[in-house]
Amino acid sequence: MEWLDELWRRLLFPFRKRQFDRDLEEEMRFHLEMKAADLGAAAGPGAAAARRKFGNVALWLEDSRQAWGWAGAEAWAADVKYALRVLGKNPGFTAVAVLTMALGIGASTAVFSVVNAVLLRPLPFRQPDRLMMVWENWQKRGGDDRTVVSHRNFADWKAASRSFEHMTVFTGDGVRWWVGSEPVMIRGAQVSGGFFQELGVQPFLGRGFLPDEERAGAPRVTVLSYGLWQRLGGDRHVVGRSVKFDREVVTVVGVMPRGFAFPSDAELWFPFVPNESRREEHELRVIARLRAGVTVAQAQGEMQTIAARLQREHPQENQGIGANVVPLLEQTVGERRRALLVLLGAVGCVLLIAAANVANLLLVRVTGRRRELALRLALGAGRWRIARCLLTESVLLALAAGALGVAAAYWLVRAFVALDPIQLPRIHEVALDGGVLLCAVATSIATGLLFGLAPALRASRPGLANWLKEGPGAAGAGEFGGNRARSWLAASQIALAVMLLIGAGLLLRSFVARVSVPLGFRPEGVIAADLPNYVNRNIGDLLSRLRALPGVQAAGAATAFPLDAAQSSCGGCLEVEGRPKAQGEAGGTGYMVATPGYFPAAGMSLERGRFFTTSDGKDAPMVAVINQALARRDFPDRDPIGRRVRWGTPGWATVVGVAANVKGFGVPGDPMPTIYFAHGQASWGNGVEVLVRTSVPPLSLAGAVRKEMRAWNKRMIIGKFDTLDNLLAESVVVPRFYMLLVAGFALLALVVSAVGVYGTVNYSVARRTHEIGIRMALGAERGDVLAMVLGQGLRLAAVGVALGVAGAWVSTQVLETLLFGVRPTDGLAFACGTGVLALAVLAACYLPALRATRVDPLVALRHE
């Protein structure tokens, strides 16, 4: 109960404070007067002696008050009030400091909220860290290969493994849906029994699938996502009703809760109906829940043993096939992890630079306020109290900046989620939630303390009282300590900025290298459309209709766009007449089928021989075109034209042409050796990718092309439909985004640190006006003064650049996997980064240096 009394007392104290102070003061006055009377005359020396003996009246008053009331809180309140007043009196300084920090805090909060949602927050399933994806591992493709699983293998895995509580499969599926007269695909997934239970998510309405529904021939049932349910009307009694998708009628048995999306693009789920598939048909994804106490490594070990046994039992089908257990989070986030962490690092640098800048500003100010501070020290303020006062100011600044920054981050994040420029996984979970806010506040306070620390330490240093004695102009050598602190701050800003500039330079070089690979085809002026596989049989019909459109130069189709690698490939399928079949990865060859119009439509160039013609039809002798990479590999010393090859068929095809290599951005060296077979002579296999080369701007023909396609086939779903240029740009949108972002951060860092250097040098020139005046009076030339000031800036730059280059040397290693065609220690990037920074520093020093040369010695000396 004692603390209650205390609380009561402290709460009441403010109301009694007046009386208390009056009493205490009277009491002390009484004491002093008695003492003085005892010591001698009431006025004069007696009173002074009494005072000396008594000590600091104000301090004792304060001390007594503290025993009663909220002295701590009151002092804080006073500090805050005082700090607000000081900040309000210097709106320019306050605005600059708050804006600088808001920039840093806003940018880092925005990046952190993305990192938090994508990398840190657990997936929205029950015990998500126990969920694993299990893949086949095709050893010839490397240790981390993740290949879809055949149903036979899955069944054997499931029967044999002990590491998992559950193991289920899913595979993509979809239904046709009409938006007006345009058919679109609603993506979904087929899932095997216990899928929803395994993820630990219950349907929001209805139920999951029953074992009975997983038989062949069972009536078709579905579970809807929340979003699709809403689009279908959001009827709460939907369960048990049937829904018609195009020609398909399915019965709804359940609706999943809002936000459930797994696999990420699925909007509805069907039961997976196993069929008697062959072991070679790899088409399933496997998700499994680890048993309690089993580690990922243990599970991996067990799966590898099982896979090895299956290899022995099925040497034909399972040769070289292991298993790969991958935690679901890792699978979901994938290679974005490193890029996001790099961004976080970059934005952290920006934050530190901003903090250093504000620390510098505060240091300058504290030097300007030293007389005031000294006065307060002399009046009995404790050093801790002074330091606390300054820290309060800087934390207030940081909190204001934090509020502004969080507001900015809120809009940034909303825009980012809405645009989703890089198709980030889990993008819809990105939000400024409590955790992020907490983090932003913590960052604000931490940076506030960080950048307030230097000035606070400095102000509370003993010997400050000397400041009181100094005149306003008597500065110079005594200020060395302060200058040094500021110089170090400026140098570390420069170092961080150099690191960012070098990183941005590397990403820029890498991007340029990525997009300047020779493509081998001409993407400009081409419309590209992705059509479903089943239209391939009479695609010639559509192509001639397209060719009849005015403005169309050429139209063709193939199994892949020229910027993508062949969509199917095989090691050991290609056979060259008169030579044993090459086996394994070394013989890996891409398989394409193309119509005659494909080559001119893509703008591919011919190295030797000819492309296909309309006479290479169904009944003509089989022909093939190979790319240069294949010619180099399989016919290194002989002309391939006229040689005969085959791909699992009884008859041979004659090579009639060698096409130039084509590849998309970011493919180093030669593309995959690839063979093209003529449409009508080989089985198609993949989607139908149509190219239409136009003699007019392609977008002006896009409507007509699309209309023609629609007129030809009302029901087919047109996937991608864009210019080839845009598809190419899309393929590098992710590296471009990272490059632009890091470059933006680097630019920000450059500007902020240049301002920091400017401030430091400018201030030092202002303080040294007197000294410069003397130098000039003694005969120093303007050039000498200029050199002196620039030299000071360059010394800063030299230290900063040295530190920054060393830091970059170490830290750019993490960029390695993000870089294309550039080593992380690329000399040009390092040289440019430091060069740009040196220029910025010179520019920042030039103005103050110029001002220094204009110092009039007479004025400077009279300034005293």
Binding site: E27, H31, F54, N56, L61, D63, S64, A67, W68
Partner: protein, 97 residues
Amino acid sequence: MLILKTLAQLGPMHGYGIAQHIQLTSEEVLQVEEGSLYPALQRMLIKGWVAAEWGQSDNHRRARYYRLTAPGRKQLSVEISEFEKVMRAITRVIQPA
């Protein structure tokens, strides 16, 4: 402890009197800033070891008199015995063997 003891010896006394008494009886060995007496007195007031009321001083001026309360007396005896314990210990240590 010194303040409590002074009050125990003198009965109700004002701050100045307490300070004078301590100084005189300790033969000016204990020199502290006299002002520090007041925060200490306030803390004792809170703890209830002393009570205060305004009264007339010897030279007819208003002064705040402090007097020892029962808890204060108890506290004094506790502190004295603590102190003696420490003193005894120190004496034993510094006594030549």
